[in-house]
């Protein structure tokens, strides 16, 4: 397991309002840099039977238990192949640690690089629910995710 320099540190040099870009299938996504605790490549995720489908399992991060959430499932994309590489984007939400599983992690986009536009109405409902807006970048459209909504109560299993 390899730990990259937490982008949060990078972010400070480019301003704390930037977004870390994430690659999922052929789509660019963004998460506010300030929310991200660290990024880890791969890792052993223990599956949890009966957990909601988006919960890939639990991950041991230096003795802390992290709930691994598959962003592909949350956003209704086809699941990754069993051997396909993935990255853990570790975020803290409501006092718990979560890892958002993505295909790749890219660079940091500064806040001012492009204006945050509202979510297009044509976007898939799964995406609309989790998105706060979109950025028009040179490489294409980047959907900015609201982490709280990705991990939101509507995703929690019915208790």
């Amino acid at each position: 397991m390899k730990t990259r320099t937490p982008p949060a540190t990078d972010a400070r040099s480019v301003g704390s309002d930037g977004y870390v870009t994430l690659r999922l299938a052929d789509q660019w996504l963004g998460i506010p840099v300030v929310l991200i605790q660290e990024v880890i490549a791969g890792g052993r995720i223990s599956p949890v039977p009966l957990a909601p489908p988006e919960v890939e399992g639990f991950l041991n991060l230096r003795g802390q238990i992290v709930t691994a959430v598959d962003l592909r499932t949350v956003l209704g994309l086809p699941r990754r192949g069993p051997d396909a590489p993935f990255m853990n984007v570790v975020v803290r939400h409501a006092d718990e640690l979560y890892s958002l599983l993505v295909d790749q992690v890219g660079d940091v986009v500064e806040e001012g690089e492009a204006p945050l536009e509202s979510v297009p109405r044509t976007l898939d409902p799964d995406w609309t629910r989790c998105a706060t807006g979109v950025l028009r970048l040179e490489r294409g459209l980047m959907v900015v995710l609201d982490v709280a909504r990705v991990l939101g109560s509507d995703l929690a299993p019915a208790v």
């Binding site: 052993r44 009966l50 957990a51 639990f58 041991n60 003795g63 709930t67 299993p157």
Partner: protein
């Protein structure tokens, strides 16, 4: 400073502080007998303890002061400013001596003649004062000592006093609330060595210690792979330090259970006056320590149960006298350690529970069918007390705990991984027994494997392990897809963990290992692929997104870094359809005998009997399902019989339509009432299902109860009691004979086995198994204890010992046994270490057999074999 002295100083400082405060109070309330009693006891404790430590000066002053206090309390002397001043002056002297003692570790020199003389001046000429009531309290320890005027040391004094009396705080219902740390008094320099620490800090420390334990475990695993590792020694050191640290941190969170009892004496006093009753509350084991989190969790349940005892349990003085009991009702609250757990008992000598009334109520509430209620054992009946809204109190009194019932008590106890049981004898009283873990953060668990995944199962819920092999495989019954295991005299419903967890479940895969689990009063078997290990695990909460899954109690990290789930046995029992009881409060699995209590109906076994209408029996009555070869079934003395476990089992055809020769093998349902057994010959077992049983039409045919509609078909219910009454006695049913792999129980009977293991879990696991085989089992907790038993002349026929034990391990024990001259005593080693080296070492040390720990049948077999070898 040695611990004893330190403890004495702390305690005496407390006591003196209390004496001072109470003497001041006494001036305001000179007639308060309770207050005087309390002051007297405090001073007495100081005196008694210093006598024990040989502190002559202290004892002389304390004794003189105590005598004056005794005279005050007994009314021989009136409270006056002058006498209070003299006692306070004595208290000053005592404090001075204590301070000197703390600084120098010995009594400072000095002359106390003046103060002693002043104190003695208050007394009668002989300077003595007898104390009868206190002697009564302490009489078991030392008759009449208090009456002595001698100031010499009295060693047994301090040790003999029951702690609940010397500890300020729980002296009984009449105790006075006295702050233990009035603070700021010069007399308590030792207070400077204690600190108040925020509980959050302790919790954080506990978590960190837990993390360290995990890292330590990982390191140990890494170094074990490489025996020559240069890290081996430092890792060993780290191992020790981590264990010590963890224990030290755990100690910081431990509090005496008495802290949760503080309000109970007052509660009982209020209840007695409100209810016109006379109640005495005795609290034992208040010093028993447990984790503060658990302490918090049991506070309310305990209060509720004491309230129950006082309000519903104990009768009015008039009723008690009429029943031949003393007018004062006794409630005893006792806490003690038992095998890594804390047991708390609440006993009263009140009117007890009326099983008949509970049965009626259960029927009224539709919890059980009327015809089944009578057949329920009292133990099962009392379980209903834990049902939501179930109260047998005829009326609601002003003090009864309305709105909170025993169901909530049970839920609270189960939430912290505890169990609760209730026993009662009508007219004699009720005992509620609670068993809880010492700490929530760390628990013993079995690590089990299913498919490629591992799970942790809390050991507190596991009664025994059964390994299913070719030898006992036939004991697994498949009745229309529902699995049962014939465990001794019980049909144990089985649940496959794969199925519970929705993993691939191939019903064709044979059952391999069964954990016999207890939830509430019921048992079920949890089938897993393998039982891998036992571990102390650090419990971490389940993440929010998985919290809704009821089968998990937590998560933990194994030594190799894997995250695994901790299973919640109560949750599994609830979510499994075979056992579910729908009601979220009733977190208990219903064993077949209990399933009839299900609100939705009664469990019945349906079978074909060679007649058009299916027939049924109550499943609770069924002992076993068997098949006999036709050639083994004989006609003798005008009835059908078959040789079964060394007895002749009478067979009764389930109807006239059964042709005994027509089927081979012949399915037989075996019934036993503990005295008689019989087999009901059927054509085939069709199903086990739950159905409301309502007798539509009573039968006129002997042997049939009547007809009912089950699953849409008219079904005849067979009257087993009638048939059992018809068969002659076939000798007492011995459950042990039902055990798999059992040899001749007669051969085992009376043979003495010494079972040695430091783990109470394994002792609890193996001793019943060996006892069931007919052996007389004695347990020892380590090698040294075992060896001294043998050397002390206790005779055993075989020793079964664990290898890894503190003080003296199994290998040393074996060497010791052989050295001590027991050359022929069979020794069987049980171990989780199974390398060839270990095995050779064990055999070289003198063991006759070297076995893996988990296979009970193997153990039973090995014991039988070694005993046979010896007798041959």
């Amino acid at each position: 400073m040695d611990d004893l002295l330190r403890e004495f100083l702390t305690e005496s400082a407390d006591n003196m502080l209390k004496v001072e405060q109470e003497m001041v109070e006494l001036e305001q309330r000179p007639d308060d007998a309770d207050l005087l009693g309390s002051i007297f006891r405090s001073m007495h404790t100081v005196k008694g303890t210093c006598g024990f430590l040989g502190l002559v000066r202290l004892e002389a002053v304390a004794h003189a002061a105590e005598s004056v206090l005794g005279a005050l309390r007994d009314g021989e002397l009136d409270v006056s400013d002058a006498v209070v001043s003299d006692v306070l002056a004595a208290a000053d002297v005592i404090k001075e001596i204590l301070e000197g003692l703390e600084a120098e570790h010995e009594e400072p020199a000095g002359d106390d003649g003046a103060i002693i003389e002043r104190l003695n001046g208050w007394l009668d000429d002989d300077g003595t004062h007898t104390d009868e009531s206190l002697d009564l309290l302490f009489r078991s320890a030392r008759e009449g000592h208090l009456g002595s005027s001698s100031a010499s040391a009295s060693p047994p004094d301090a040790v003999a006093e029951p702690p609940e009396i010397v500890t300020p705080g729980w002296t009984g219902p009449d105790r006075r609330a006295v702050p233990r740390d009035g603070g700021g008094r010069s007399g308590r320099a030792l207070a400077d060595t204690t600190l108040r620490v925020d509980v959050d800090v302790l919790d954080a420390l506990m978590n960190l210690a837990g993390e360290l334990v995990l890292t330590r475990n990982q390191l140990i695993q890494l170094t074990q792979r490489d025996e020559d590792s240069t890290y081996a020694t430092p890792v060993q050191q780290l191992n020790r330090v981590t264990t010590d640290l963890q224990q030290a941190v755990m100690r910081t969170r431990m509090q005496p259970i008495g802290n949760a009892w503080g309000k109970l004496p007052r509660l009982v006093r209020d209840l007695s006056s409100a209810g016109g009753k006379r109640l005495a509350l005795t609290m034992l084991g208040a010093e028993t320590e447990l984790d503060r989190q658990i302490l918090q969790a049991i506070k309310d349940p305990l209060t509720h149960m004491i309230r129950n005892s006082a309000d519903h349990g104990i009768e009015s003085p008039a009723e008690r006298v009429a029943a031949g009991k003393p007018p004062e009702g006794q409630i005893v609250l006792e806490a003690f350690h038992q095998g890594g757990h804390i047991v708390i008992e609440i006993r009263d000598d009140g009117k007890g529970l009326d099983a008949g009334a509970i049965r009626r109520k259960a029927v009224e509430r539709g919890l059980v069918a009327a015809e089944d209620a009578a057949a329920l054992s009292e133990h099962r009946v009392f379980e209903y007390v834990f049902e939501p809204g179930f109260s047998t109190a005829g009326q609601v009194t002003p003090v009864s705990g309305r709105g909170v019932g025993m169901d909530v008590v049970r839920r609270n106890i189960e939430q912290i991984g505890g169990t609760i049981e209730l026993h009662s004898v009508l007219g004699r009283g009720t005992t509620v027994r609670i068993k809880i873990p010492l700490t929530l953060a760390i628990m013993s668990a079995l690590i089990v494997g299913v498919g490629e995944q591992s799970f942790a199962v809390p050991q507190i819920g596991v009664l025994e392990l059964v390994r299913v092999s070719a030898r006992n495989g036939h004991l697994v019954e498949n009745v229309n897809g529902a699995l049962f295991y014939r465990l001794r005299d019980q049909l144990l419903p089985l649940v496959r963990l794969e199925r519970v967890l929705g993993m691939d479940d191939d019903a064709e895969i044979p059952v391999r290992s069964i954990l016999v689990c207890q939830v509430g009063a019921s048992r079920f078997g949890l089938c897993v692929d393998s039982i891998l290990d036992t571990h102390e695990i650090v419990v971490k909460p389940v993440g929010r997104m998985v919290k809704g899954v009821r089968v998990y109690a937590g998560t933990t990290i194994l030594g190799d870094g894997r995250v695994i789930m901790i299973l919640d046995l109560a949750g599994i029992a609830q979510t499994t359809d075979v056992l579910a009881r729908g009601d979220e409060h009733a977190a208990e699995a219903a064993a077949p005998s209990q399933r009839q209590e299900h609100e939705r109906g009664t469990s019945v076994l349906l079978f074909d009997a060679g007649v058009p209408a299916p027939r049924a029996v109550y499943l609770s009555q069924v002992s076993r399902l068997e098949e006999f070869a036709a050639r083994d079934i004989e006609w003798a003395d005008g009835r059908w019989v078959v040789q079964y476990r060394g007895e002749l089992l009478p067979l009764v055809p389930a109807s006239d339509g059964i042709d005994m020769a027509a089927r081979d093998p012949r399915p037989v349902v075996v019934f036993s009432d503990g005295v008689r057994s019989m087999g009901l010959a059927v054509d085939g077992v069709r199903d086990i299902l739950e159905s409301p049983v309502k007798i539509e039409r009573e039968s006129t045919t002997p042997g049939l109860i009547g007809s009912t509609v089950i699953a849409g078909r008219t079904t005849e219910l067979v009257d087993i009691d009638y048939h059992l009454a018809q068969v002659q006695e076939v000798g007492p049913a011995t459950p042990s004979e039902a055990r798999p792999g059992s040899g001749d129980p007669a051969a085992a009977r009376g043979r003495r086995i010494l079972l040695v293991d430091d783990s109470p879990f394994f002792l609890n696991l193996l001793s019943p198994v060996l006892r069931a085989e007919g052996y007389d089992v004695t347990v020892s907790h380590d090698g040294l204890q075992a060896l001294s038993r043998l050397e002390g002349g206790e005779a055993f026929d075989a020793v079964v010992s664990d290898i890894d034990m503190p003080t003296m391990d199994g290998v040393e024990l074996a060497r010791g046994v052989r050295r001590a001259g027991f050359q022929d005593l069979p020794l069987v080693a049980l171990t989780s270490r199974s390398s060839d080296d270990d095995r050779d070492r064990g055999l070289a040390a003198g063991f006759d057999r070297y076995l893996r720990k988990f296979d009970q049948d193997e153990v039973v077999e090995a014991v039988r074999a070694v005993l046979e070898e010896v007798s041959a």
